[in-house]
Symmetry: C2
Subunit: 413 residues, 2 copies
């Protein structure tokens, strides 16, 4: 199995000004290609340290992927150092220069002279076109070591990786690695792990539990000579997990509950409305993350104040007084109110204390009530995260609201 | 200046399962302490590769900070490898064992036998208490090289860093580095850079431009013997930038427009309402990210469908027919409608085509209208991002809405 190493170049990364999402993206994609990433490193835009790192990398890895430092300014030196390391001369690549100058022309701009630097490429490299920026990427080889240069900005790096780096890298992997993520909601990581404890020892496919943002997931990873064989290794294990965790599973290989729920709503021709207090629009935001959500989501009410809960959603003054804004009664009435205002088929509501500070009552930070109403019934869930982190509480609340919608459709509510 | 190096340990990082936020956090904090981070590296939970990396790190850095791999399971080997590298024996640290077992007791659990591994520490180390988990961290020294071990989960690493690592590391920095971020909105990175071009050559403080999520910022960084001297170096430069970029600046050292706008609303005793179409709740969500937003934000309407724009916000059927949902007229009426429904002092609205797909009209993806209404007037802004990325468009739209609120308060609208 070929080994691969990722080098991120940029002083802004060492200062912590930028979060290194490129390294995560590249690692994920290289794993999918069956390439083993054993090192990730970050250095600044510094000749000597980058050169030294290339020496180490060339000794231990078959393929080195560099990202960043391809810009037009003098401090961008990744390409220059890599070519020095490989003893390759830079010459003007006419086609890249033409592409870059039409990129500027399309924007009604004239290409600054400094950008020409980006069209200087080694003669015998494979050029990676940049369709989302100016700097071309490239791949080159010497003595069996391959170096790929990619631009730093994720908007440029990702499409270039798929369009140009993947075809180049496919030649190096004799094995295929396939992973499937089984996403659950409503069961903790430990409880989930216990249910599938025997499967966690499996060697191929491997089964690994993870916890993230209030959810638990299982990652099933198989290695084989080809896609079909890898899928055939995964399938019985996924089926077994599916039968054991059934109702907790909201999706396989989807990225979020909303990605599972919105298509379910569309398929069932169900319109959903939202009524949000502490989440302040987050449930609506997550639903509308999904392109096409307009088919099933028409209306949301953010009722942050009691007066709005009463006046817009019709929550009774009595309920607000007697039970308080954070109560099962108010959650229920909010959901019913949203159903009425919107004319939707179902509505979810969230009211809670997101923190970090208390709401002045004796109720704990982290407490929330989430309700779902249809024309005939209303369901309510009490939740106490035990956390005071505002972002965490709000996210987990919104996940619970979306999960109630899923359970409603699956008739497990 | 002492050099520092960050090593993140964890196979899940190499697989891209986890985004390495620890490295960013540590880099930022070390810079603040005046320690120079020249390398960040990531390796898996692998004895040989971690040992080799420690050898390289010890040659080039004064201080090595390791995060991750302190867990209770056999694959967690960071502490063991670091102690082997420094020839230190592990012995049971009674106090850590007591702390860990009360941590479990407080949760109503019995400490599993496997966790005892986490209380095994080298005799002559400085122990870092973990108040948010089980694994203690530690610092140790040999031949002038210092190694700090910190747990991987950010919820444990961050507080431990502030509580224990900072006091330990303060001894090593003879210089202080202070940075201030001047955040602007409404001016591009290049245009901003031109306005302050001469300042970008300054050596101490340095002035560096960055662009992020549709915003441009300037980072002013000074190095000096103490905080006061560093601040005195920054101040005249910040004042100069402030005078040149005045109206574009929404805040210094704040993290987002909402962090600037919510306090401005509170200070001016202005209640804000929102009416959102394409952003689907994101404006409300960002406002309510800020604890205390309830003082000024009571009501938001997510009117994703035309019918809701008409029925809840009172947008005229004529305007929707004649100009379409994505138009200046509809944005204006949405803002006025939100003002009426909410009883707030001002209201902002957003309607646009977030993409990636067209809305079926001839209007381009990325087009949006953002309006702000008060009792007497309404302002509307047309925006075309030129992008088809849904997340980007929605975020930039929401930023523009928040920025209009800022401009309204600053009377620059």
């Amino acid at each position: 199995m070929k080994t691969c190493e990722i080098i991120s170049v940029g002083t802004e990364l060492l200062l912590g000004d930028i979060l290194n999402t490129d390294a995560q993206f590249l690692s994920q994609e290289l794993a999918k290609l069956g390439l083993s990433v054993l090192h990730q490193s970050t250095v600044g835009d510094n000749h000597d340290r980058l050169y030294e790192l290339l020496e180490q990398a060339a000794q231990r890895s078959d393929i080195i992927i560099l990202s960043g430092g391809l810009g037009p300014t003098p401090d961008d030196i990744t390409k220059e150092v890599a070519c020095e390391f490989f003893s390759k001369d830079l010459t003007l690549h006419e086609e890249s220069l033409r592409r870059m100058s039409s990129y500027f022309t399309a924007k009604g701009l004239v290409m600054p002279e400094t950008n020409k630097k980006q069209a200087m490429l080694p003669a015998d490299c494979v050029v990676f076109e940049n369709n989302n920026g100016t700097a071309p990427g490239l791949a080159m080889e010497k003595d069996g070591t391959h170096i790929l240069l990619l631009p730093g900005p994720p908007r440029e790096l990702k499409p270039m990786f798929y369009e140009s780096a993947v075809p180049y890298l496919k030649n190096f992997s004799d094995k295929v690695i396939i992973s499937h993520n089984i996403r659950t909601f409503g069961i903790g990581e430990s409880a989930m792990s216990e249910v599938v404890a025997d499967l966690l020892d499996s060697a191929n496919p491997t089964v690994a539990p993870y916890a993230k943002d209030g959810e638990a997931l299982l990652r099933v990873t198989a290695m084989a000579d080809n896609n079909d064989d890898a899928e055939n290794l995964c399938k019985p294990v996924i089926d077994e997990i599916r039968s054991r965790l059934s109702d907790y599973i909201y999706g396989i290989d989807c990225n979020s509950i909303e990605e599972a729920v919105v298509p379910m709503l569309i398929e069932n021709n169900l319109k959903l409305a939202t009524a949000e207090s502490c989440t302040g629009g987050l449930v609506g935001k997550r639903i509308t993350n999904i392109s096409g959500a307009s088919k099933v989501y028409e209306c949301g009410i953010i009722a942050y104040a009691n007066e709005i809960k009463h006046r817009v959603l019709g929550v009774s003054v009595d309920a607000l007084r007697q039970y308080g804004a954070v109560s099962a009664e108010v959650a229920e009435q909010m959901a019913k109110g949203a159903l009425e205002v919107s004319g939707a088929d179902i509505a979810v509501s969230v009211t809670g204390i997101a923190g970090p500070l208390s709401d002045g009552t004796s109720k704990p930070v982290g407490l929330s009530y989430i309700a779902l109403a249809d024309k005939n019934n209303v369901w309510v869930k009490e939740l106490n995260t035990g956390h005071t982190n505002r972002d965490y509480n709000r996210f987990v609340n919104s996940s619970n609201a979306l999960n109630m919608v899923r359970m409603y459709i699956e008739k497990t509510l």
